[in-house]
Symmetry: C2
Subunit: 247 residues, 2 copies
């Protein structure tokens, strides 16, 4: 089933906090994207690039193993990682092993370690707490017994930039919510990056933009209804393959 | 402004968790009630009394001090504390000093210590993370820029059991959500306790019960519209004073 998760807490070291409006979209087939824009960017660096982090992958870029009824291991080997794209120093590369525990309240507690100095050096433990949302709602509605059935059967559509275009990109629609990245290959600077978060409304078949970053956001798909697996969608000259469509 | 807060994490010791569906209601004038029923009661003790904790007070039972723009101290001296009522051993008595920090994400991080062995002995630090909800919605809708104005102007009504009735009781309505306790004086056992969480719907002027505990829940008010400050409401023989009404 598709999922839309809002992070409510992030902890590295002794004190938790949450400075981002982080949403992770997971498609029915297990493709994923996580965009983590700062709520209040502070200073020139965050203002120029207002993201704590962003990454994405297909279901080939994650290994999921059930450990116990309420515990899952997820080993991520991101296809796209903004730190790798920008070659940001002292950030993790390669597989990140994470453990996800579902609390009785319904939240998901993620724990793991990153190795910004390489795997031969000391890792840094992290904790993230995620609140599942009902992606069929426009507002940030917590998933609960009341809406579980509709949330779990939400629409799930995934667009991936066609090979040979000179770009990498993935846009995942879960319910009404879409998140996407589009990166120009071989640029390695923030100029090559584009991100979008958009939302379908009752009144329009074109998703409303909630935020966008980058000069080429007009190349993201914003019409999701009726697309079928295998379709190729041209958006202002960029071709996107529909690699998943449940609707 | 009234508030409805859902706890998303509770930490004592090294590992956070959340086993309760804890909601705290705070009225416009600062009266408060927090009910913390377990999501999945485990074992005979929790099944007999399925609450992690419950407490309530009027605005006379809390001192609020602004420390910084995003930090508030709240010193609680509960009028009603289920642990005190039941005389549960090794639980805190007296003032609890807490600090509330508003994160950039909008969540409230509460820290403090309790002294289950008395103030002359070692305290126990705790951390609780609260997600503000829009109380005007039936679903669990996170408060956000989108709904802040309606959330902050939500209805706020408070009923308090009249003196001399042999009961203590408080019921707080914030938006569509009501939470109440009713305790028979001088019983000191779970037989003397009643709790209710109820919600107004579009279709009825009588609030729907979301959960109730105790044999005398028919004595809780369940009609909130139109009551005025100073009104006395009789519910199956029990008189409640309306000590606050903004609607």
């Amino acid at each position: 089933m598709p999922a839309l998760l809002k992070r409510v807490a992030f902890q590295v070291g002794l004190v938790p906090n949450e400075r981002a409006f982080a949403l992770s979209s997971v498609s029915n087939d297990g493709h994923y994207i996580s965009l983590r824009p700062f709520v209040k960017p502070q200073g020139p660096s965050e203002e120029a690039f207002p993201f704590e982090w962003a990454f994405a992958g297909t279901n080939k870029n994650v290994t999921v193993t059930q450990v116990k009824p309420n515990v899952v291991n997820q080993d991520f080997n991101f296809w796209f990682d903004v730190n790798a794209y920008l070659n940001t120093p002292n950030t993790h590369r390669g597989v990140i092993k994470t453990t996800w525990e579902t609390w009785e309240s319904g939240c998901l507690a993620e724990t793991g370690s990153v190795f910004p100095e390489g795997f031969n050096n000391q890792g840094v433990a992290f904790f993230e707490l995620w609140q599942p949302l009902d992606p069929t709602k426009q507002e940030l509605v917590m998933k609960s017994e009341r809406n579980e059935a509709t949330a779990d059967s939400a629409k799930s559509v995934v667009f991936k930039v066609a090979e040979g275009s000179g770009y990498d990109g993935l846009l995942i629609v879960t319910g009404k919510w879409a998140q996407g990245f589009l990166s120009k290959q071989n640029v390695g600077k923030i100029d090559g990056l584009n991100f979008i978060r958009a939302q379908e409304t009752e009144t329009s078949t074109v998703a409303d933009v909630l935020f966008e970053y980058g000069d080429e956001c007009n190349k993201f798909p914003r019409r999701f209804n009726g697309v079928k697996l295998g379709d190729v969608v041209d958006v202002n000259g960029l071709k996107w393959d529909v690699i998943e469509s449940y609707q």
